[in-house]
């Protein structure tokens, strides 16, 4: 379904490796199954040819990997960035989290990535093979002889259904055409929850967040969570990771996490993509983004390098915290 081919990416990687522009390539590699694509640092052409993949499962946002990888490699790293990844890339540059000089960024177009959970829901478990066939996926499971045909569009990640931008906001080189920022409906679901009664909202989140197993996948995948030492790993922070003592604990974890990335979150959707419990964590981030847009004017983190995040900024006539609710009650 992707418009750009694996061969195009391989050719680009090979030539940049060959001419010495880069010494390593940060790319996707085959996993055990068709869908468990894993990030990998490639340094040889052979390795690339054998293991590099590019398909509808390459959702991983590589920006975060640059924080640790740029230190470990001499010379430049080639990184492939989908449009949404470039926002994280810029945001990390804003926060001085890696050296831009050590990265060669190649922007690649993206037609949306597949949500493995949705796929499994469509075909059942035990997927043994996935083949691409135009806009469809041919999925073979260990239980069925005939592969099932699943249209990609039916199993897209939520973040891709509500894609906010096909435009690359950072790159050294762009493969394919420059895309556009999309006027997406990504805040609709937040608005729906806002429209609920407090009891309904509480029940909704109680239901979602009580499933949290505190695996920290959301934090570990989040490109805004690159702290040298996470507060949840710090015994002095008062909120360190431990078995939840009460039911508020998960909520507290997710509020703190969302608050910590508020104003810095680019809405890349990695948190929800990686959550093994399918908790719609992006809604928490989007609530902050929506609020910030409404209270302090439109702000897209990572749209440019060096912008000042709304929560480390102010104007003298900002909204009062109490007025937040007055406004909402008036709208209702």
């Amino acid at each position: 379904m992707q418009t750009i081919t694996k061969q195009q990416l391989l050719d680009k990687a090979d030539s940049l490796l060959a001419n010495g522009t880069v010494t390593a390539v940060l790319g996707w590699s085959k996993g055990e199954f068709g869908y468990d694509v894993t990030p990998k640092m490639f340094t040889t052409k052979e390795d690339l040819e054998q293991n590099f993949v590019w398909n509808d499962f390459c959702g991983v946002n590589f920006s975060k990997y640059l924080v640790s990888k740029t230190d470990r490699f001499e010379g430049k790293i080639l990184v492939f960035l989908k449009p949404c990844d470039t926002y994280s890339f810029n945001q990390l540059l804003t926060e001085h989290r890696f050296d831009r000089e050590k990265v060669y960024a190649v922007g690649i177009p993206c037609e949306g990535m597949v949500d493995v959970s949705k796929l499994k829901a469509a075909t059942g478990d035990g997927i043994s093979e996935i083949k691409e066939d135009g806009d469809n996926l041919l999925v073979t499971t260990i239980y069925e002889d005939e592969p099932a045909t699943v249209p990609c569009r039916d199993v897209l990640l939520e973040r891709c259904i509500n894609c906010k931008s096909k435009k690359h906001v950072a790159y050294d080189e762009l493969l394919g055409d420059e895309g556009e920022i999309i006027d997406s409906a990504r805040f609709d679901e937040v608005a729906q929850i806002e429209a609920m009664t407090p009891d309904e909202r509480f029940a909704f989140w109680q239901n979602e967040l009580s499933r949290c197993i505190r695996c920290n996948a959301c934090r570990d995948a989040c490109p805004a969570c690159t702290c040298e030492k996470c507060v949840f790993d710090n015994p002095n922070s008062g909120v360190e990771n431990k078995a939840p003592a009460n039911s508020f604990e998960e909520k507290m974890f997710h509020i703190i996490r969302a608050y910590h990335v508020a104003g810095r979150c680019t809405d890349c959707g990695e948190c929800s993509r990686v959550c093994p419990q399918n908790i719609p964590l992006h809604l928490l981030n989007r609530k902050f983004i929506k609020d910030i847009n409404e209270f302090y004017g439109e702000y897209q983190a990572g749209a440019e390098v060096g912008s000042r995040a709304p929560l480390v900024d102010y104007t003298t006539d900002d909204l009062e915290p109490g007025e937040v609710f007055d406004r909402r009650d008036m709208d209702a």
């Binding site: 609920m196 509480f202 508020f248 928490l284 609020d291 929560l311 102010y314 003298t316």
Partner: protein, 144 residues
């Protein structure tokens, strides 16, 4: 029928320069407010980390109020402006999670506003008392 009224637990964060002084003035003028309010002194309202507020709720507080200098009067020139943004965002998020918005408040109280401090605390305690026990934030499993 006897109503066993719940005594709420209120944590008030007060900035040293305006609101804490305002609370002192309320004391000087013997302006009563409920003993449910316990004040924690911070140098500036911008010192209040959202984690402190969540921690208070987690440990059983029924309401949290943050008091600082009036906007424009911050001892540190801009601290309360940051407080204003941070708390607007945080309280909106708590509300989004279905936690009663009446349990949180930000109030600007100057060093001269002892009366306002007492009135604010009376009002806030009344508001929180009306909501009853804070079931949404504390442990559900241990309580009915």
């Amino acid at each position: 029928m006897q109503v066993n009224e719940h005594k709420p637990l209120i944590v008030a964060f007060c900035c040293n320069w305006c609101s804490y002084a305002g609370a002192d003035l309320a004391g000087n003028n013997r302006l009563n407010y409920p003993a449910d309010v316990k004040i924690i002194r911070v140098p500036c309202s911008c010192r209040v980390n959202p984690m402190f507020i969540l921690r208070a709720f987690q440990r059983g507080a029924d309401g949290v109020i943050i008091c600082g200098c009036h906007p424009g009067d911050c001892h540190y020139t801009s601290g309360n402006y940051y407080t204003r943004r941070r708390m607007a965002a945080l309280f909106s998020m708590l509300d989004f999670l279905g936690i009663e918005k009446e349990r949180t408040r930000v109030e600007w109280v100057s060093a001269a506003e002892g009366a306002k401090f007492a009135a604010t605390m009376n009002d806030f305690v009344e508001q929180v008392t009306a909501l009853g026990e804070n079931k949404r934030l504390e442990d559900l499993r241990c309580k009915r």
